[in-house]
Each structure stands twice: as C-alpha cells, then as structure tokens.
Symmetry: C2
Subunit: 559 residues, 2 copies
Amino acid sequence: MAKYTIGVDFGTESGRALLVDVADGREVATYVHPYANGVIDEKLPGTEIRLEPDWALQDPNDYLETFKHAIPAVLRASGVDPADVIGLGIDFTACTMLPTKADGTPLCFLSKWRNQPHAWVKLWKHHAAQPEANKLNEIARAGGFAFLNRYGGKISSEWFVPKAWQILNEAPAVYAAADRLIEAADWVVWQLTGVETRNLTTAGYKGIWSKREGFPPDAFFRALDPRLEHFVDEKLSRRISELGQNAGGLTAQAAAWTGLRPGTAVAVANVDAHVAVPAATVVEPGRMVIIMGTSNCHMVLGTQERLVPGMCGYVEDGIIPGFFGYEAGQSCVGDHFAWFTENCVPAAYEREAAARGISIHQLLEERAAALKPGESGLLALDWWNGNRSVLVDVDLTGLLIGATLATKPEEIYRALIEATAYGTRIIIETFQNNGVPVHQIVATGGLPDRNKLLMQIYADVTGRPIVIAGTHQGGALGSAMHGAVAAGKAAGGYDTIVKATKQMASLRDESYTPNPAATAIYDRLFAEYVTLHDYFGRGANDVMKRLKGLKAEVRGVRG
Amino acid sequence: MAKYTIGVDFGTESGRALLVDVADGREVATYVHPYANGVIDEKLPGTEIRLEPDWALQDPNDYLETFKHAIPAVLRASGVDPADVIGLGIDFTACTMLPTKADGTPLCFLSKWRNQPHAWVKLWKHHAAQPEANKLNEIARAGGFAFLNRYGGKISSEWFVPKAWQILNEAPAVYAAADRLIEAADWVVWQLTGVETRNLTTAGYKGIWSKREGFPPDAFFRALDPRLEHFVDEKLSRRISELGQNAGGLTAQAAAWTGLRPGTAVAVANVDAHVAVPAATVVEPGRMVIIMGTSNCHMVLGTQERLVPGMCGYVEDGIIPGFFGYEAGQSCVGDHFAWFTENCVPAAYEREAAARGISIHQLLEERAAALKPGESGLLALDWWNGNRSVLVDVDLTGLLIGATLATKPEEIYRALIEATAYGTRIIIETFQNNGVPVHQIVATGGLPDRNKLLMQIYADVTGRPIVIAGTHQGGALGSAMHGAVAAGKAAGGYDTIVKATKQMASLRDESYTPNPAATAIYDRLFAEYVTLHDYFGRGANDVMKRLKGLKAEVRGVRG
C-alpha cells in the first residue's frame, strides 16, 4: 500500500500544501491558501491603527486557516486515505516571529493586546528593528563577541534578537506579557502537536545559536539592555531540536482541522530556503543550490567549519545533519529585471511584444540572446538593492558603465543579468577560496523556468555546469521529505534525510554547460567587475554611500 | 533710408538666409533652403557607388542653390530694395572642405571625377580620416611639434589636414588633380566674389594655422608623407584674411543669382559657432557663450595667450579681432536626452504624455523639475559620446551610479542633465584656473528655448548667472553683422564688429540666477563627479576603453 506525506510551505502571501508519494516523491496534489490578512503593512486589521514605514506584520490565524483549508483540499483532490498519510512537515519564511502566552496563545489573539502592533507576528521583511540591529552589531564588535564571524560580520535587522529587542524598547508591556517569543515556524508545529519545539535551522541562522556555543552569553544580552540579561531563559529555550525529528503526533484538535489521523508524525520545523536543498537532491558538499527568484539564495554544505567572509551565516547541521550548512545571498535578481522592464523599456518594445503575443521579458530575452558576450560594451554592478554577499552593505547602489548613444535596452537588460552572474561568481569564489568547494550549481526557484538565457549566462560566467531541480515546489517537497523522516522507516518513511532525498528528490532532464569561448570573454569582464566591486564596495570610493546619505538629507529622512 | 545686410548660414541639412536691419539688428525676413542632396552617406548621387561607413559628403551645388533661392526669397518677403542691401556675410559648418581646380570649379562638377567620392565635399562629420588623424597626432607628439598644445593635445579627424591626407592616401589622382583644397566656407565666398580668400577662423581652428606661427613647417608635412611636403604652397595659401574684411564685391553672375546689386560687399567667411558669439552680444572676455544643442560648444575670449588643457583650440583674432578666441566642447548634450527618450522611457509615460498633449521631453522635464538637487541619489558621467573637453578622449563611455529599485525615469533624466552641467563646470573651471576667467554664461542654440529646467540646473551647478541671446539665428545674424562690417561705416554699416554688436545684437529679457542652496548641494555632487571623472578619465581605471576594445574585438571591428 502506497504511503504519503504532506509538506506545508508557509510563504509571504499564502501557504501551500503538497501531498507526495513517499516511494518516489511524486507530487500527487497541491493547494494554495492565500492569507486573508496577507502582509499587514498599513493598518492593523479591523482598526484604524496605522503602522510605521518598514513595518510588516502577519496574523497567526492565517497559518491555522492554511492547515484547515489546504490539507483537506489535497486529501480530497488526491483521494488518498488519511490513514496512508504517515507524516507532515512544514517550512516557513524566517525570521518570522511572535510573542505568545505559555500555552502558545498569540498575544494578538487576546483582546487586551489585539490593538497593539507589537503583539502580532513580525514578518521576515519587517525592517523597523534596524536601530536595534545597528546597536547590537556595535556592541558585539566592541565586545569582541566572536559569533559575529559566523554571520559575515553582521546580524541583520530581519533576525530574531533585533526584533525581540524592538518589542522591549517600544512596547515593554507586550514584552513583559509574552511568556514566549518564538519563530512562527515552531509555533505552527506547536499548534499541530501541542509540543513547543525550537528548530535548529532558525535558531542557528536567525537566532545566533550554534551547536557548539549555544546562544550568546547572558553578559552579551545584558550589554544590550539589562532587562535582556536572562532573555534566553525567560523567553526562549535552550533545547534545540534537530531537523527530521518527530516533534510529536498530531493532536485531536489538529486532526479535526486537517482531516488527518491523530498521532500522525509532525517533523520539527524548517526554513523555506534550507529545506529546498535536499529537495534539489543536494545532501553532500560541492554542489551549490541557488534559489533564484526576486533575490538569489546560495546554499552549500561543507565538512569543516570555515569562516567565509560576507556570507549570511553557517550552521552545523543547519541544512543536512552532519554538515556545516553555509548560506549566502544576493539582494536583487528577479527584482532587477522587473525594475528594468517597468521603468526603462520604451513603448516601441511594448508594442512589438503585444503584437507578437509575448511578454516584454520574452522580447528582451530574445534580443539579448542574439548578443555575444562582450558585444554591448556594458558592465553593471548589481547593487540596485544593496549587496548582501560578500560585502554585507545595504547602502551600496547600482552602477552601469559603458553606455553610448547606440546602446539599446536589450543590451542593458543583458548587462544586468550578467552583473548578477558576476555577483554569484564572487560568492562561489569566496567560498572556494575559503575551503568550501563548489563544482556544480543546482538551480531552483522561479527564474530557471522563465529565463534560459540567464541560466546559460550563469554557467558561462561561473564556469560551472548548472542542473535544475525537478520540483517546482522545493519548500513543500522538502517539508514532505522531512515529514517522511519524522515518520521513520518503520512507518513506511525513511530513517534519514539522505535516504529520503535519494528516493524522493530528482533533477530535471535539462542542464547548462559552460561554453569555453564565452567563459574566456567573461573571465575578462569579471576581472573588470571585481575591480569596480572592490573600488566602490570596499572603501576606496564611498560615493554610493555619500549619494545615499545626501538623498536622505535632502528628503529630510533619518540619514 | 534704412540699410540692410543679409547673413547666410550654411548648416548640415539646409542653408538659411536672414535679412536684418543694420540699425538695430531687427530680423526682417528669413528663408530656409533644404539641400537637395543633403548629407550624402550611402551612395554618390545618381550612381550606385556606395560609401564606406563614417563617410559624409555634400554637393557644392546645393550651396549655390541656397544663394539662388534663399536670397531672392528674403528680398521678396521683406520688400527691401536690393540697393539698400549693403553687405552679405556667410557662415558655414567646419571643417567642411573640397578639392577644386584653380578657377574654383569643384572636381565633382567635372565628369572625369564625378564618380569619385573623394572629389566631393567632405562634410564636418565625415569621420573616415581617423587613421590619418591618429598617425598625425603620433608624429606631431613624437616630433615635439608645439602646435598640438594649441588644440588640447589632439588634432581631430574632422579637421582639414587629416581629410586632405585621406584624399592623398586613397585617391592620389584626385589629390593631384586638385589645384586647391579649400573650406566650403571660403569656396562660397569665392563663388560670390570671384576672389579666393581663406578666413582666419577655419584656418586657425581647423587648419593648424596661427597668426604668430602660420602653418606647421614643411618638415612636419614631410614627416607625414613626403608627397605632402609642400602641401600648404601647392594646395592652400599662406594669405589668411581677417574677419569682417570685405572679401570682394558681388560679381555680375552672383548678382544675377541673388537679385542683389553687383559690387555688394561680401565679408570674409566665418564658422557657424564662432560667428554666433558677437550675435550673442559677446565681444569681451569673461562672458562665455555656450551654443547648446545636440552638443555644447563653449566659446570665451581672453586677452592673453593661455594653454588650457583639453580645449578644442584657441586662435588669436579667431572670434573677435584683438582677442584670443578659446573654444571647448561637450560631445553629447541634446543627443543624450534624445537617446534617453527613445530607449529608456516606458510606455506608461508615453501614454501619459499623449493623453495630456505634451511631448515626452515635457513630461520628463515637469517630473524632473519636481525633484530637489541630490534627491535622486544618482550621478552620471556624461560620456555617452566620448569626452571632448577637457579629456579629449572619444573612447570614454557613459556611466550611471546610484540606482535603486525605486529609481524612476525622471530621476535618470535629471541626472543626465546634471551630468552635462558638471561637464560644463569642469570646462569653466579649467579655463578659470588657467587664466581665462568666466563670470557669466550667455546661452544660445536650441536648448535654452526648450528646457528651462536645464538652464536653471546649469546656473546652479556652475554658480554663474545665465543670460540668453536674443536671436534664434545666431549664425545668420552674426554673418549679417559681419556683412555690415565688410560694407563699412561709409556705406551705412560699421567699422568694427564691436560697434556692430552694440547695435545689432541683443539679449532676451530672461535670465537664470544661481540658487545658493542648490549650488551648495551641487558643490558636493560636483566633487563626486570630479573624483569619478578623474578615476575613469585620467588612467586610474581604463575599464571604459577595455570594454570598448572588447566590444570591437567581439564584433570583429578594427579595434
């Protein structure tokens, strides 16, 4: 009798359930549930209470509704007997966190706190804790706290401690009323199982925790604010659960929500990007997974602990147990092309695309594909949204050089694609030069489907072959795979994620091989890119920051 | 009885006659005659003979037709008695040159040579003599010929000697058959008067002649090519005529063409840009005339001989007798905005402009005007068409820095305007720092009418007040003024161009004053511009040239 697991992938605007066959990872049914309150960034739902700029909240009820709608829907669509669903896994955006009572009730569910923005879920892209992040980094640097090195030298305002600290600073009563501060990923597992667990991945990548050192010492938190001295013991937990563990069986209530059987194994939570790595077949060093979408997220495994400058972070066992999981990122990839298409493509192109029934992206790709490497004479720095890796500097901005009166839009478009490829090559070479080798790229996410030119350029620029993950639902599939590991072999699942990957993950019959002639040209262009990257990015000429500072000054914004 | 003069301005596509009142410069009638053969850059007229890229020829008959149509037309339209027309002046594009027989007959009028492209007029923008210009500059530098210093260190491929040398190299028979090589400016005066004169302005700015040193020595020409040793004496003339001189009276034949009286005074020829200086009221040092159009041409007078790095050239008596006339240039101004509008403005803007019945330029100007200096965070190097002054480098290319995902088209548009203003400020400061002061800008040309935002930005960036020339026909009015000087006071004209200017030239009742707050911001942006200008333009990072070289290599073009 076939066995199944379900993965639930909690995204920014919606949650998705995917029901897969444990034997081969076949995707049997999927269902997307849009969050009723979506991203809350203007007013608190049902009120006239306005949010400050840079705020981004969510409603935890939307997560519960996802379970209630999406899981019954995939059961219905597949016709699978709930008795044959042996496990459930979830993945989430991160750091997405909320304050709760000791029993897991979100503070925002209580009428006393419902009108207080700090009582709600802070979504990953809530950026209002920047002052706290800046202060935290200053204090950590000044105090010589070595954990900073694990995160490329900087803790992001998106992460757990700055967000928690912002609650304390701006709403001390909410902070005091919160028995627990917890990742939404772990909170939804708590709701399914009645058991509070804390997953290793968010703890490691977003919560400044490591297997060897645990959390930063209380002295560090005291240095931030005396009220934070016992932060970990008061609001979190030092018990961190490994990936693939069974967090607990489904409660009767959660079984009623979902239509699954009580006691069904639920895996410890995971992060959307990280769980996509085994879903892309990668459970060993040397093959870098790049999730390519609005931004790029690069993940690669290593057997040894290495300090790699400018990465987002590394966590032992954080992606696949037994390996150091390294993460790096580029802030602006698909967003780049969207910006260009919206702001810089002339009406004549729009008319041609419309007449031919293709999108402007397709028209640009077609024309850009007709160009040879080096033919446009253009070069760009892909910093339209700052630089995450390897410079870790949000104040860097975009640059285009080489324009003439004969420059055409498709040439600029291609130069922007190439610039993001050079950015990826810098990341790969930084890993490689610091003892984390990369010999193949496994691409996943939305872009590999949509832009074959981009894929070939990445292969040519990096000089690495690129293969493509078989699934379009890396998060949900990875979660379903972890559900199979939580269920275990005895129940029809797997003992390890490596074994689950072997059976359930696959690659597409499509790959990109570097063209040596193109790579030779790109080597020369990359050398120019590196020179400009270092000149503008490493302090020789901080014009980008001064321009940005002047802009803020002129606009009367806090500089 | 009122007296009149006529100015004829020979442009790139057409010739214009302007009849003005000598007493006050009132513009009584004007007429434009489009050249039948226009710019010849594909096939020789009436043949299937194809021209190479970079060639640009004209038909001298089109100039004669201009006299035959435009002068009768302004006489007719004005009702002025030809007896009251006391003088005629002409100005021309330069260097625009042709080979003729000893009697002035253009070789291309002779059937023997009509099918030979080198027998026709080489227009100013004929760029096919670049190899000759490169070799000339090399030889002049290697030989230590000091005349190079008068031209910012480089003789342009557009100028007289490279063009003549190209004829010799590629069509030695045409070269041998040419008794004279002459500027079209001087050729048309010859056709009117029967007298071969050579005007000081083209000789000085385009022909490597100076009042103190004459032409380069024969040894220099021999070093170029032994066949050129006696170039000046064989093909040109060492007799150079001063501006405002009477070249001779109108011949009977020319009187028949034009309807003017035989013997009417004809001024020695002049250049369109240079003759526009007195037409813009400038006959003294300190006030820089900028002709603003597709490119910018900057002219200023000095009392002393100064070597100003990167200027186009300076000529004693070359603009106004008694002064050194200094010229500098920017290769890409109006062209810049045209490129941007054509290639980078999205369909939504085109729709909005159309709905409101305004041009895209007007829409962009309106939106850009709503921005404060520094607000966009953008900075550009205005080198889309290379840099003429002060770097004299055609291989430099455009740069835009500071882009983010929030950058809008009008911000880029404004940054391009600002970049050309910074380029002008570099030119002004280079003059100022080298002993040629500039305290006011007098703008003329097409842009001052079309873009008030640009004018205010120029005032703010340069910190100089800007006034606007009264005439829209700086070339034709300046020529008419020189016609009045050629006629002389006795005939009802003037003894000097200074006196003519006082009566006949005027300023508009419109000016732009620097806003100190804006200037303070622009000072900071200009400092950033200078750093980038020097980094990319003075050898610290020749990436622009390497990109351009690679582009040529990839396209299989001579690099």
